[in-house]
Symmetry: D3
Amino acid sequence: MKAVTFGEIMLRLAPPGYLRFEQAASFEAVYGGGEANVAVSLANFGVPAAFVTKVPDNPIGQAAINEMRRYGVDTAYMLKGGDRLGIYFLEKGASQRPSKVVYDRKLSAISQARKEDFDWPAIFSGADWFHFTGITPALGDSVAEAVLAACQAAKAAGLTVSCDLNFRKNLWTSEKAGKTMAQFMPYVDVCIANEEDAEKVFGIKAPDSDIVGGSLSHDGYKAVAEELKKRFNFTAVAITLRGSISASDNNWAAMLYKDGEFHFSRTYPIHIVDRVGGGDSFAGGLIYAMLSGFAAKDALEFAVAASCLKHSIEGDHNHVTVAEVKTLAGGDASGRVQR
Amino acid sequence: MKAVTFGEIMLRLAPPGYLRFEQAASFEAVYGGGEANVAVSLANFGVPAAFVTKVPDNPIGQAAINEMRRYGVDTAYMLKGGDRLGIYFLEKGASQRPSKVVYDRKLSAISQARKEDFDWPAIFSGADWFHFTGITPALGDSVAEAVLAACQAAKAAGLTVSCDLNFRKNLWTSEKAGKTMAQFMPYVDVCIANEEDAEKVFGIKAPDSDIVGGSLSHDGYKAVAEELKKRFNFTAVAITLRGSISASDNNWAAMLYKDGEFHFSRTYPIHIVDRVGGGDSFAGGLIYAMLSGFAAKDALEFAVAASCLKHSIEGDHNHVTVAEVKTLAGGDASGRVQR
Amino acid sequence: MKAVTFGEIMLRLAPPGYLRFEQAASFEAVYGGGEANVAVSLANFGVPAAFVTKVPDNPIGQAAINEMRRYGVDTAYMLKGGDRLGIYFLEKGASQRPSKVVYDRKLSAISQARKEDFDWPAIFSGADWFHFTGITPALGDSVAEAVLAACQAAKAAGLTVSCDLNFRKNLWTSEKAGKTMAQFMPYVDVCIANEEDAEKVFGIKAPDSDIVGGSLSHDGYKAVAEELKKRFNFTAVAITLRGSISASDNNWAAMLYKDGEFHFSRTYPIHIVDRVGGGDSFAGGLIYAMLSGFAAKDALEFAVAASCLKHSIEGDHNHVTVAEVKTLAGGDASGRVQR
Amino acid sequence: MKAVTFGEIMLRLAPPGYLRFEQAASFEAVYGGGEANVAVSLANFGVPAAFVTKVPDNPIGQAAINEMRRYGVDTAYMLKGGDRLGIYFLEKGASQRPSKVVYDRKLSAISQARKEDFDWPAIFSGADWFHFTGITPALGDSVAEAVLAACQAAKAAGLTVSCDLNFRKNLWTSEKAGKTMAQFMPYVDVCIANEEDAEKVFGIKAPDSDIVGGSLSHDGYKAVAEELKKRFNFTAVAITLRGSISASDNNWAAMLYKDGEFHFSRTYPIHIVDRVGGGDSFAGGLIYAMLSGFAAKDALEFAVAASCLKHSIEGDHNHVTVAEVKTLAGGDASGRVQR
Amino acid sequence: MKAVTFGEIMLRLAPPGYLRFEQAASFEAVYGGGEANVAVSLANFGVPAAFVTKVPDNPIGQAAINEMRRYGVDTAYMLKGGDRLGIYFLEKGASQRPSKVVYDRKLSAISQARKEDFDWPAIFSGADWFHFTGITPALGDSVAEAVLAACQAAKAAGLTVSCDLNFRKNLWTSEKAGKTMAQFMPYVDVCIANEEDAEKVFGIKAPDSDIVGGSLSHDGYKAVAEELKKRFNFTAVAITLRGSISASDNNWAAMLYKDGEFHFSRTYPIHIVDRVGGGDSFAGGLIYAMLSGFAAKDALEFAVAASCLKHSIEGDHNHVTVAEVKTLAGGDASGRVQR
Amino acid sequence: MKAVTFGEIMLRLAPPGYLRFEQAASFEAVYGGGEANVAVSLANFGVPAAFVTKVPDNPIGQAAINEMRRYGVDTAYMLKGGDRLGIYFLEKGASQRPSKVVYDRKLSAISQARKEDFDWPAIFSGADWFHFTGITPALGDSVAEAVLAACQAAKAAGLTVSCDLNFRKNLWTSEKAGKTMAQFMPYVDVCIANEEDAEKVFGIKAPDSDIVGGSLSHDGYKAVAEELKKRFNFTAVAITLRGSISASDNNWAAMLYKDGEFHFSRTYPIHIVDRVGGGDSFAGGLIYAMLSGFAAKDALEFAVAASCLKHSIEGDHNHVTVAEVKTLAGGDASGRVQR
């Protein structure tokens, strides 16, 4: 099995510990982004994974490539060129103080990429799965065109296509998102979303959810999933359910709608180390499980356990093994020392 | 609006993370103190704030000035002279292990200051509010004289005066504190205290509180506030209510007694990053809210939300904006990532 | 009073914070091991304590000696020679992700030590207590012989002997452990174990405990203690009871069976800073309390409070004073700042 | 005396120590830029100094303001708005490996500023000196227009105007630079340049210099200065002379041409800590000395000593006092410990 | 072109800065070793490079693989198995205090490897060059057998073979080294050595060199090279010439004997950042240059410039590009900032 | 052999690297002082060494004790009591920027100590050597009395007494120093001084030295030594000769006058890591060599080599072994890696 993801990788700059931006005399640096994170997850699970993007031809772009190589991702299609590497500044929240992200991604190399930059048939050679998120087309019209070309090529080559809706209000409006994303949906088999995305992108709202307050209604999510399925005829719809108690503590679960059945995972009460990339690690887990032929409920539990573990790991990436995820999914959440 | 605070600023030296003093090979350094912290809070809220003190004429004293300047405080009246900058060593506690403070403030420049050092009419020119705490006069008789002169000048100039009782048993006895503080009370409009101060300074005890055990009685605090009001005719009395579950987890709330009414804030369950300066951030929030003409209940909720956020921030200072406090006071404590 | 412990000291290498091994660009270094940790606990309590071991004659071995000296342990019998200092790599877990230990202790100097290396009568001169754990004999047959010689010499010299069963599956099998440990038991007065040791070493199982799930049955532990007492005629049997909620949160308590009575300590809900050495700090507390003539229940509460505090301290060692432990054992778990 | 500078302030991100970009897991962060650096130098010398720029209205922009405030610079005219704060990545060289700068300053807030943003008469109220460098107009045509307006307003208000030619090949061509800079020269009194600038901007070449090889000819520099004076009728021309032995060791000196006389400073052999901002610290020293009415030779020696010391200080800024500079300019370069 | 190297990769643990082992509370961690370093050099030069070794199947072994992947080395033949990853502790010297290495490499996975573990024909498929050093066979007889098999397979496949004699007295005696290494020499085309190796391995001594004193005689080295060539009929012999002035300052040059001609490189006076891997970076540069068909003198200057730059880079690896090396080899050693 | 030293130990707080005080967000912490440093030197050379002082009874005082214990010093006579531990802030200089020390030692526990605190006969039991410096009596009259008592007791017990004149202008005047120190000289056998001390304490000036300029005249120093010997009848007079080229580079040598002969050591050109404690390490080396019965010239060379190495070591203490010193004294200053 082999998977391909396509999107942006950014330099993430975060003050050490719980310092606020204004207090920081240094920034911890990692390189991440939604689709890059999924590729690393898959590589850590032993799935050959390629990440497709464009980075500037300078040492910062090279460092982004190196980070992906380090964790075993195929970087042959991390193209070089363009102005700069996108940056995001992350301030880690705690207790009632939320984490804060300042994006500085304008003029990023990938946002300047064009459809012609990518030889999709070559990229997809030997691949089984293609994954992208709503962030990629939001980067610019030319990138959106490249996404469409990728979807078409993926379908033509017989790949399964997954899309994490991942709405980002800083990048585009709901209106623009809805129109653009709708183009890709015919090619998508597996649709992934969090508790807000379906509404923000396609105007599909869970009737009685209260996201800020953290209450989650199973029935509401079922309705959303059914509506998504109805509109776009997805093979599977997965929705992550985050209950935000505080910046330090979250509840985490997900639902999978497949073959007419709704599966709800167990809910993990999480003490957060690093919450960024939580959704991506769910996508990574789900893709791995589906590629491996897990039953729907098992696939869901694997994906949720994988992303639960992500919240305990610094950085955007989910550095866990299949064995570690299976232990947790299998019921051992005790955190006892492994000697 | 413009505010002035008067007191000591110290070099705070803390081992990294949760190391004990004996384990530390380095100390993280910030500069803080009760009244300095209030000045920074106010500056962060956009209120022109001046901090009055004395620091030694050496690079350590200069660094204290720089830290205040950095956050926008007017440092024109941080005088130079005297022997040394006071120091306090802070060991951060966790779970059942309490935080530990070792004071090393003898011979500090401010403790050697004299009434004549400060030109209060000039200092208060254009100001609306004067704030000090019980720590300032506890530093020495000559500083207490300066406090009295400040109170008189403030009143003469029509400022509102607030005082945080802030009893420190290492600096003086309850007897000395009671006698000294009583001199200033006629000038004080707003009295701020924590759950112990009223008893330690003026012998006014909440009948049925158990501070160590963490139980708090609303009726007890009402009684304390009424007695304070009766004795000193304050315009407002505010008492913070800390429920210490452990060094890692506290409950935090406050009461405001004003115009004959008792207001109790919501209670925040806090996962602590840095607890020092919690009370000061309450005072800063309350002064801001009162200067801005908030209704009593709103002022209280603003002050409590501000100080709740402080517990999530490293160092003595409360680095939050008005907008951040209002979001929390408005009910969003979910800590969801702000993008 | 004076105590002697015998065992291995290792270099512990841990990534900073919550980084995984693969993410680490540096390792924090401390030196610890079961019996070394007990010696440091005792020295911190003011008990003259000697640690007996063998370290390589190189700067890494010297650093291990220095660490023990730093905290006041008598290092006259930390012999020099052999190939290398054992190492263990520690990755700190969080939430549902368990801590992970990678041992790299083969060819360690102490594992190469022989009975003849240690002059036990000289070592025990003036001593009242001898402590070892099941790890020491597990290091190799020649070390096991040294343990036996130590036990015999300790008894001959009238010392009290304590043993923490401390089963390590990486070092030996249950079968080998049971056979070897049984040789030492006739010399042991005080037997210490965690919730698994008795079963793993001597096949004595608490009937209805579920360790991974974190449920603990008082009756089950009573049965284990009685059986241990029956088989080996110990003066006292102490069993620690860890309830693993997650890698971040544990419940911690213990039982002491002495003079026919079962004592159960209070249970501490712990927010974990560093869990390694938790059991050793219990042993250290118990030995101190017994050496000081505490009543059984008081000794137990002292030992549990001591080890509760250990969980809030970085590194293997328990850096707390008798006064700090007594404050907690006396009921103040509020973690309020000590000024 | 009071001085105003105008230009860009950037976030500088540098790997710790001598790590290369690709090795870095964190970046040390300071905020600097040519004109900001001059303002800090002057503030450190006790000269009231204001820095005029535009930064984005986000925490990164605020941090830049805070850094300037911290060192006593007047930040009232650091406007807020625009897309982003410019960034430059700095890799510190050593021995034969040169330092490396990767600029990421496109779309910076200041580059988007327009003439109308700045109320120069208000800004220059009470000021004696205006300083800018060739970097500011290179940021964009609209900024160049603002520079021209500033020059005109400064002259109208009777200020002395200094300009550091500071050619940056990444920002514009020599042709564009020459044409643009020529517009400002009629308003400039004091022209500052390094060994390359005069040639790169105005095509004025020192006949026999070999910059890469590090040989410097006094006569060549005299010729350059005379030609500059002839063309633009400057009151004074200062040229810094850097002899690059390696990335670790430089020789440093300067020439001042004033009132028809050439003054050459002593040459300092420097072991480099941080070379960035070296030229700015020379400008800062020269402006201070001229504002203070130093004789030409003394002003030159002060400026060179100030900038010599800068090379021993981390970051872009020159954190030295007048007394420290005078000690070195006075001949004590022994570096003996000051107790 | 494609190259393969074979040897050990170790975890290198070094105290930060200039701390001695006994002072260190942490160790900086990188992964390196003679042949691994050469592979990274080549990858950084754009040469497809594979590193062949064996590491333990645990996270520490995985981290070693990741480090190689990060810099673009093919790790398909970094096998997994065996006891542990070898470690070396490095204390960085300064001035008159030498750097100090404590090896802890017994029982390393690669030392336990056997001839059968490596499928050389597959490994060498498509490769042009094979490189090993004298360290590899010194790890144990079974590894020496694997080296012999590799040499034979390399020759059979038409690869060029290079060997860096690299004598390590801690691993074997000169006698054993001489006997073992002699077996491989018939397969070796390019022999690389430092100023001591030829004597220590084959008893060939430069008549009048004084290594400790730092004097180097060109004639002596010529004699050594001629004798090596005579004995083993190498195509080329390269000898590095290190003049140790102090732990902080070295002179660095090399000689290449090829086609009957002696070439001496320029000598670089180096201010040392990290001296470890200096020889390996020379080998890497030489292999690149020879693979690229450089003339002998150019190849030598490239190799010496590459290794000169290595001394300015932290860690074992040489992170420089071909362009950077060529700039230095071309004569620009000024270290001027590259913007 | 056994030695005793008496004096102050301080907490030393230094910004990391070359940061100035005003830039520091943390301070590296070690514990040192003239006589403490000598004790550590001796312990590192294997000489049983006791350090006598008084530290406050708080965790900071305990940390000072721990640091001494860590390196093997007998701390039985580090008494507890008094107000605080003295502090000194150290800013490391570089190139032309000198290092800077800010003392904050008023009210230190040792300065409050009295003659009666120290039981000298018990302290000197079994000892051969007593060492103190001019700093100890400068701390206060009561400490000076204790020094006198120590000298008398030391002589009575037959110890050799050494004194490093070590004049500190911040602690007393030359006049006071001269008068006080003169009292102790009759008991002193070995007098140690730097190039300034003899003049500052006893008005004995080297006729033609220029300390700031770095020129040193052998004849001048001979004259000083002879005069010292004449006045106080010392057995030996040692003078260190520091040539300050810059804060980064010093020349270092010394002279020993004994038995009517003048011995001059070789001169070491030193690239400085940490210069503080340089003189103390000379004293430590000299005492070791004299206690060990070295010939005068050998003792001198040992002492100078020991202190040369100190300059390459972070912190106040000299962490070197006898073997390391002998290697350097024996002529190997090449700094080649020790494997």
